[in-house]
């Protein structure tokens, strides 16, 4: 029992002299405290009360690192984003999902966050579709078909929360492969597996299935809840997906939501196609028609398919009679910010801001003072490379994560000559 021997050794070493024990003898959690002793960062003010630690700067530098890594990968090669996505979410409901290391149980935590993920996914990718698959008792079953309505998926998932039996990764992959094989060629095929178990019981050779998925251009990603497994890592490496293991509930939520925006689509995966779509008008007020989704007579609100004039209740959807994809222009517009992203702002140190000739040291968009509160000295801020305006750190985050417009650039009128230079 190697581990427990090691632990006993560590215990004795700790009593002797912490500083002298070599790093290899320590557990990982002890090593993190050798370099960063976060309790030493606490400070007291004049009256002896503890001052709050400034988390803002740390948060902002983490955010900037994330932004830089994202823009570096997309600028490095001509990678486009897969905007029309067909995603199968595979939820492992084997016995391991009943473990209570995530409170109240792994299964409950997964269900809660998958609901939020589904809503966020359709918000960011209105033209895409999701299908749910569960693994239970060593068998994979398709819970919902590929579809674009979030409510149907969420309702089905909440109704089926019970865990039992073994988990079988191969069965899940086979099922997902058959489902995603039938979709049109312009769609991006993705699989997201939420895996709680530490093993997989397969009827055949899983490596063959992995190769089959790779050939079918399925991008498989896994989020593990227990520990890293070789077979998951291999699957993700072969198919070009990402493999992460969640440390706690907050981390799991973050990892899951990272899959909501479209991933970079490798050029060889995407077959560009022109998809015929309809942009229906709203039905006239007071008009009566039988809607094609509920087979009931409805008055007023609704949309008319431009090809076959059938009435549908909500968009986006596929007309049941003629099969035309029906969307409204805002649905397409929701994805335009992925195609026209704004550049990250550059960091401006306090010194640079002081030296700059800006008259009033306020953020251009929210007019909050850029001076450190309580002092007259400039604090750190960010600047846009194109319009050269200064922004506070919070606006920087809001602009890049939610707004996707630089207020400085939008408040400038660019002449056509200048515009053609910047576009090329």
């Amino acid at each position: 029992m190697n581990n427990s021997e090691k632990k006993r050794m560590n215990g004795e070493a700790e009593e002797e002299n912490e500083e002298d024990v070599e790093d290899e003898g320590r557990d990982a959690w002890e090593r993190t405290y050798t370099d960063e002793r976060s309790w030493e960062a606490l400070e007291e003010d004049e009256s002896g009360l503890l001052q709050p630690i400034d988390n803002k700067a740390i948060y902002h530098s983490q955010y900037r690192r994330r932004l830089q890594s994202l823009s570096a990968t997309s600028a490095a090669s001509r990678i486009q984003k897969g905007l029309i996505r067909f995603l199968c979410v595979v939820v492992d409901l084997s016995k391991a999902a009943g473990e209570m290391d995530f409170k109240p149980s792994r299964m409950a935590v997964i269900a809660k966050h998958v609901e939020a993920f589904i809503r966020e996914f359709f918000d960011q990718n209105p033209l895409s579709q999701i299908g749910l698959v569960i693994i239970k008792d060593g068998v994979a079953q398709s819970l919902t078909e590929l579809g674009g309505s979030p409510e149907a998926h969420i309702k089905a998932l909440m109704g089926k929360l019970g865990c039992a039996g073994d988990s079988s990764l191969q069965n899940a992959l086979e099922l997902v492969h058959d489902t995603l094989h039938k979709i049109p060629s312009y769609g991006h095929r993705e699989v997201l597996i939420l895996y709680s178990a530490l093993s997989t019981c397969d009827p055949g050779d899983i490596m063959e299935t992995i190769q089959k998925c790779k050939k079918a251009k399925l991008r498989c990603s896994v989020i593990g809840l227990s520990a890293e497994m070789f077979v998951c890592k291999h699957l993700c490496q072969e198919t070009g997906g990402s493999y992460m293991v969640a440390l706690d509930e907050g981390h799991f939520k973050e990892l899951l939501l990272e899959h909501a925006p479209p991933p970079p689509a490798l050029a060889e995966f995407a077959i560009a196609n022109l998809i015929k779509m309809g942009f229906p008008q709203r039905a006239a007020e007071g008009s009566i028609a039988i809607c094609s989704c509920h087979r009931e007579a409805k008055v007023g609100e609704g949309y008319i398919c431009p090809r076959c004039k059938a009435r549908v209740c909500e968009l986006p959807t596929e007309c049941r009679f003629c099969g035309l994809t029906l969307v409204s222009s805002p649905h397409l517009a929701r994805s335009y910010h992925h195609l026209f992203p704004i550049e990250p702002f550059t960091e401006v140190s306090a010194r640079q801001l002081e030296l700059s000739r800006v008259a009033s040291k306020t953020c251009f968009s929210c007019r909050e003072s850029l001076l450190t509160p309580g002092t007259n000295k400039a604090g750190p801020c960010a600047a846009c490379t194109k319009c050269k305006q200064y922004f506070c750190l919070d606006c920087d985050i809001y602009i890049h994560e939610s707004l996707h417009n630089c207020p400085g650039c939008e408040s400038r009128r660019i002449t056509p000559a200048a515009a053609s230079v910047t576009m090329s």
Binding site: A272, R282, L332, R367, N405
Partner: protein, 291 residues
């Protein structure tokens, strides 16, 4: 403490001289501003806790005009007119001069350039509102009121839609009182998507009445009123090639550009349809080396 009927109203005033000078309506810019000033005064009188921010939407730039929460902008009244009026009028005049100077270098502007920089002022308004959200759990309920007359600028479509979706996520309604000649499709969509109210007054001489009856009431109390309902919001798309509205078209699966006819190649992203992009790129290379 804030009760739920306290408002933060961010007003975006359109000062675009290309609209106001060519407008054939019964309202000129100075009359328009006087209606708006009385309306702003009304908001302030309805509750001491109400806050107002005014941002000007110009032709070449946008800027903050007034912020009721700033000490420098609070001036005590003297004489007949409220001090608010003279302060805002002076700032507006400074802004219009600045806007004009910025455009002095451009020549020969056609009809199309008559649009204002609505996306700029909308973005600034949303950033200001985020700042208010950050200030703590007790804050007034924010909303944006666009007083717009200039036509939509099609070059701003993507930025305005981005702003609309961000407002929708933050649950900030975008209202609009449109004083131009033809309805603004952008602002109709903005109000529809964010749950705001869009009004195009029939009789502009009575503009203050529309403002006072529709837009003075706080968000919570709106549920007790019969407000103008959206009529015929047009959600059809425009094709990228001719800018005509179409009800059926072709969408590029890579960049989502909309076309009215079938093409072999996408003019926006260069994708060749029907082929995997890597094959298409190597085809192009081969053809280039052969020729």
């Amino acid at each position: 403490s804030f009760s739920d009927d306290v408002s933060l109203l961010v007003v975006l005033i359109d000062t675009n001289p290309f609209f106001w000078s060519t407008s054939s309506s019964s309202l000129n810019f100075h009359q328009f501003v006087s209606h708006v000033l009385v309306f702003l005064d009304l908001i302030v009188r309805l509750s001491q806790l109400n806050q107002i921010v005014v941002i000007a939407t110009g032709h070449n730039t946008c800027d903050y005009i007034y912020d009721s929460s700033l000490d420098t902008d609070q001036v005590t009244g003297e004489g007949e007119l409220p001090a608010l009026y003279s302060f805002v009028l002076q700032r507006l005049e400074e802004f219009v001069n600045k806007d004009e100077k910025l455009g002095a270098k451009q020549e020969g502007l056609s009809e199309k350039r008559a649009s204002s920089l609505l996306s700029g002022s909308l973005s600034m308004a949303l950033c200001y509102i985020q700042r208010v959200f950050r200030s703590g759990p007790l804050h007034p309920q924010p909303r944006i009121l666009c007083l717009q007359g200039s036509p939509d600028g099609s070059e701003q479509y993507v930025s305005i839609m981005n702003a609309i979706f961000s407002a929708q996520r933050s649950m900030v309604p975008i209202d609009c009182c449109y004083v131009g000649s033809h309805n603004s499709a952008f602002l109709q969509q903005a109000s529809y998507i964010t749950g705001g109210v869009y009004v195009k007054p029939q009789h502009l001489e009575g503009l203050y009445q529309y403002l006072a009856t529709v837009f003075a009431v706080d968000l919570h109390s709106r549920s007790f009123l019969q407000l103008p309902r959206p009529a015929g919001v047009d959600f059809r798309a425009s094709c990228f090639c001719h800018k005509t509205t179409i009800d059926m078209g072709y969408v590029c699966s890579v960049c989502l550009s909309i076309f009215c006819k079938h093409h072999d190649k996408c003019s926006t992203c260069g994708s060749v349809f029907g082929k995997a992009q890597l094959d298409a790129a190597s085809d192009r290379k081969r053809k280039a080396s052969e020729s």
